[in-house]
Amino acid sequence: MAAKPIASPIPVAMYPTLSVFTLAIGLVITAFFFIYEATSSRKNRSLVKELVTAAVASVFLGFGSLFLLLASGVYV
């Protein structure tokens, strides 16, 4: 009876590509966040918009750094 091997949910060969793309997107959204902070005045700021941008950016940056760690050999 052949046993079923368990592999990683994401193919290991894709880790470097995934890390580059997710980090790039994450950094772009971070840029949006800080540009919004810098250009808006105290009256026009929308907290919801800030938090949503921060959340999306941190998700992309978090996964990007995870894939970066995996691609460089630190299998966490």
């Binding site: 368990i6 950016a57 996964f63």
Partner: protein, 464 residues
Amino acid sequence: MAARIWILAVVVAVFLSLSAFSSAQDLQIVNAERRIDLSSQIVKAFLTLKVENIGKDPVAEMLLAFPPTQIKHLAMVQALAITGKKKKKTYLPLDVKPSEQPDAPNDAGFFIVSFATPLGPGETVKLEVLYILTHSLEPFPVEITQSESQLVYYHDSAVILSPYHIKQQTTFFKTPSTRVESFTSIEPANRAGKEIKYGPYEDRTPYSYTPVIVHFENNSPFAVVEELVREIEISHWGSLQITENYRLTHGGARHKGVFSRVDYQSRRSISGASSFNALLAVLPPRVNSVYYRDDIGNISTSHLRTGFRKSELEFEPRYPLFGGWKATFIIGYRVPLEDYLFEAPDDRRYLNFTFGCPLVETIVNKLTVKVVLPEGSKDPSAVLPFTVNQDLQVKYSYLDIVGRTVVVLQKDNVVPTHNVPFQVYYTFKPIYMLAEPFMLVSAFFFVFVASLAYVHIDLNIAKK
């Protein structure tokens, strides 16, 4: 010489008188042939027995006896039942277990071999027993210089120690070279080239024992790993990282005098005959990121040859090892996860890996295998074909909150025949894999929230 024969006669008489101890035996050994291979530091003995049931009832098991000095150094005992003749022989592995017999003469140790089917009265069965002894070759002279060859003693008995009557038996000793200084002569005993034959001996009573000593040259590498700690770290993101910490010594005759590098390099065949400078480690096939280093740093004297069935790492310590010299180093490598991690039918996961030391022809005095399971694993259990000491520890590694469970398996006196697969079972819910990226995401989110707070907080004293 005369003193030796006198001691021999006394011992034989003592053991013959002890034969009255043994209870009525249902089994007798019709024919026994023992071949002992003394070519390397690991002594391998092959026993071919033809056992007959002379009693009236079926017998389900038989006893194998070993003298107390050998029991301490016994690394493995295996038994096979042979059926069929010539080309159509089939081998059936039998269950072998150590046992305590209360009325054993002179503290002999025993193993029970269970037959596949109970042996009926009048039936015979052919068995093949393999047992492996470690640390049984005693170097004599104890200290040698660089230009001398290594000579060792091997103590055994010309007659097989057994609780049963043996009708006919022969023992062969195979030495690595034709240089044999001396061997105890118990008629009929003779030597031809690399083989010493003791026998055939007829009609020996149970527990008869005639000690012999063979003094011969053995220049095979006496590589002994005093302690080996193997750590196998499982990462569900795709790899198995193995780190092995070795403490290696040369277990043969101790080196005395100076070490002359000039002599060693110019006359390599005579100088340091028993020393060794290269070792071979057999690694899994799809291995990558292999490193070999010690406390000083990386050691570059190594060659890795990857293959389809196995990879070979030939490495050299920083200096050749002579008797009593030590070397400490670390070998690490990575293998893909899908080769070794599987899903069991009851939804548990299990790791299927090889136990034992990857070095060839090496004895390990103390082996510790640590299997580090990923965070969130529960109910670990290990399944092995032989007995080991099991324990659980906790290890804190990258992105850990509660720590990783470590299954620690410890075994003494390990030889290359112990390189068999073993399994470690555990349960793991795949959702726990998200704990690590979630930790990173929340760390980044905290940075954003901190910058938000900084921007929003109004620290002006005066009202605008």
